[in-house]
Amino acid sequence: MVLSLALAVLVGCDVPVAGPLGVPGNPGAPPQRGGWLQVASYTHVRTLDPAIAFDEVANSIEHFLFAKLLDFSPDGQGFVPDLAENWEVSDDQLRVVFHLRRGVRFHDGVEVLASDVKRSLERALHPDTPCPVSSFYERITGYRDFVQRRASSLSGVKVEGDYTLVIELSEPDSTLLSVLALPTAAPVCRSAGAVYDREFTSHPCGAGPFRFHSWEPGRYIRMERFEGYYQPGRPYLDGIEYAFNVPTFTQRFKFEDGLLDHIRELGEADLARYLASPAWHGLGAWEPARAIHSLFMNTEIPPFDSRPFRKAIAAAIQREQLAMVRPGSVRPASRILPPAIPGHDPSPGQRYDLALALDLMREAGFPYDPVTGRGGYPRELTYVAISDSFDVEAAQILQQHLARIGVRFRIRAQGWPAHLAETSRRRTVAFGSDGWAADFPDPSDFFEPLFSSKAISEEESQNRAFYRNPRLDALLEEARREPSQERRLALYHQAEDMVLDDAPWAVLYSKRWFELWHPYLRGYRIHPARSGDLAFTWIDLQARTAVQGARWAPPLSRGQLALWIRPGGKH
């Protein structure tokens, strides 16, 4: 039995992927109502309270449950109205007036008013609420007094009638609209209370297209269509079931069996099989990368306090080789902003140039002769990486790259909590893996925490390279205040060039995800600002019913049983 099972696993590991269920329909077909969408993740959510949940899966579920004042546009470059019909920004950038739609209802039937938006924002930012992104809103007038309990309300958020909300800022902040489009600022029902209450997470209530149905923590959450949603006729699905803690291996089998309609978390081997399968050709799509991965160099610790040494490291790395290990999902990157972020520049930034790297090593005082292997940095360094991640594999490749310029290091892998604790402590870690995923699609979300001197502290530094550049600080401040998006992006481009030239980071790669869905799932378009934006998809019920009939065919006959091991013969 064990041998046959071992064989089964081996065969299973190499079994060609089954074909898609259903056939692509007429793109112009009108949406149908009905059906439950089934999706899964290998992780789980800890809470569904938008005031405190900020991980990727929780965020995608919150978009089903909660409507916001505004949302990121489908191209990720701007904003579209949601609860607010429109808004006006004053010339001095210090005041934004939102005009709310009339007649929008919460899931409990109560109308959404401007006072609910203010109440919900105050609830999220209340000092008793463990909100992980409270400081995103720190430029709202009165924020400090409110979080330090010197004021009972946020003075900068003003209700002017039932449908007008005014937000005043203590200084111009071009990220305000972005952070208001996050679920953290989403209005919640009055039953949520004035401050965070742990009971709310067991019955989350907002004004989104789906309302809470049931939740078994660690297993699944079910959400059903909210018939009172403000967009007539939408959403189309009867509901969504989001399963948690489903291993990627099982997700693939469930997807092929039609037990999942959409899949995103594919193992590398399965991803390669789907990409190579003719049956899946033209189906599925890559998400644009929202995260960037790098090697940070602590500019306060020798030898990385030497700019030529850091630049030599950046010039010695062949980024294409990193991408060859994970073809498709890992893309070589030489600039800071990943493709999904406004301001991304596809032109090369930090380039591989071995001759230049050797010259820079000489300039840094560590000449290295690659023929004799003499010279280079005299001591072995330690590189810290996050265990159970691609970081470790990347580090092994970097070992070979840097050995060519006489820099040798050993790898120390550790879990991310320990990694963060150590690398963010001053004068503790010389270099290691780093990276950043967009909290919201804006360049400031990358530059300010990663490279501004404001982000340096003794114990909790987000600027892990401890990189200081007053010119960069001034540029970032100017960009934050700049009202014109075009001029802002130009300023961030300058900032990017400045950082790349000083090389506190050697930019390595961006990682992206491939999404697949069966052809009977219609109307899905990947959103550059978030994953799994499935709220307004619909299911071709006829096509799905046909394949479900096939799926639940009677168990295999004895003759078929003998052939069960035949790979790829299911569909």
Binding site: V2, R198, L420
Partner: protein, 334 residues
């Protein structure tokens, strides 16, 4: 007998205190904390600091430890209000309250979390133990009575394979064969009705039980062979008792005694230690809860699961010890 039980109970309490204290200190000493994990890897320092203060993680070790112990058992009202700040996470046993605190990550009382996971763990542990015992006793006995035969060699080889097969490998194989290819059983999950649960527990129980069954087979085989060589077995056979009767009535009965000791230890371990199996089959048991808690540095849940798992092992051993005294007259002498 009673004084023996009381002595064991006293010693067990000390062991429990030691284990929980050790877990507390280790969790405190590790770099990074629950506030950082709750806030996420990219949270701004001011937000992490605010959450740390809110959870009381900015306090020194001794203050946190004193608060934990003080809360663990204390007095209070018999009826509880979940919104009561002081007693919202308590379970009242009359005027005595048990309080393991609130999960940092899930924001629920730890006792509620443990209580919600315990039935699934008990079901899986019992089913896995049943698989282990049935397979182990049957295969072990057959191998012993057919010693030196192909069957014996086959069983011994299989047990070697069984103890050396990683759980995740066997689990994936079973899932692939019985759920994906043959569609006889569900892939994973716990079901919502009892018939669904009984179907759902088969795959994880087989996965978990197979490893133990291999070990039990070897144990039973050796023990049966030993017992068959004893004078009492030879006498029974000489007196004309059938081989089957001697095996079932005399030999197996004596074989069960050493098996009982192992079963006691295993049940406790299975209750909280089926981590890989629970993860693979999405079984909502204590193993998955504890591993999530460790990954997320969720101190109250770590301490709760440590306390529960240690109690289970200690209680199972205590029961085995006491039952040993009942089953084996030789162990009753002072």
């Amino acid at each position: 007998m009673l004084s023996r039980a009381l002595r064991r109970l006293g010693a067990s309490t000390l062991v429990l205190w030691g284990v929980v204290t050790l877990a507390f200190v280790i969790n405190f000493a590790l770099p990074g904390d629950a506030a950082r994990i709750l806030a996420g890897p990219q949270a701004r320092p001011a937000d992490v600091a605010r959450i740390r203060e809110k959870l009381g993680l900015d306090q020194p070790l001794l203050v946190q430890y004193r608060r934990f112990l003080g809360r663990l058992l204390h007095g209070g009202p018999s009826s509880l209000n979940p919104r009561d700040e002081a007693h919202g996470s308590c379970t009242a046993l009359g005027p005595i309250h048990v309080d393991l605190g609130v999960s940092y990550q899930q924001r629920k009382p730890v006792l509620v979390l443990l209580a919600s996971r315990l039935p699934a763990s008990l079901l899986l542990a019992s089913a896995a133990l049943l698989v282990q015992l049935l397979l182990g006793i049957l295969a072990g006995t057959l191998a012993a009575v057919r010693k030196g035969s192909i069957l014996d060699h086959g069983v011994v080889s299989l047990t070697l394979l069984g103890v050396s097969t990683p759980t995740f490998f066997l689990g994936l194989g079973l899932q692939y064969l019985l759920a994906y290819r043959l569609r006889w059983l569900p892939f994973d999950g716990y079901g919502t009705t009892w018939p669904e649960r009984l179907r759902s527990v088969i795959l994880p129980a087989l996965t978990l039980g197979f490893f133990g069954a291999a070990y039990y087979t070897r144990l039973v085989r050796d023990e049966v062979l030993g017992q068959l060589r004893q004078d009492y077995a030879r006498t029974a056979l000489a007196k004309g008792a059938s081989r089957l009767r001697v095996l079932v009535v005399h030999v197996l009965r004596n074989t069960l005694l050493p098996l009982l000791t192992v079963v006691g230890l295993d049940f406790g371990a299975l209750l909280g230690g089926a981590i890989v199996t629970e993860k693979l089959f999405r079984w909502p048991g204590l193993g998955q809860l504890s591993v999530d808690a460790v990954v997320e540095r969720d101190g109250p849940v770590i301490l709760g699961t440590v306390l529960l798992a240690s109690s289970a092992v200690i209680l199972a051993n205590l029961l085995v010890d006491l039952s040993y005294a009942l089953l084996d007259p030789r162990s009753r002498s002072p």
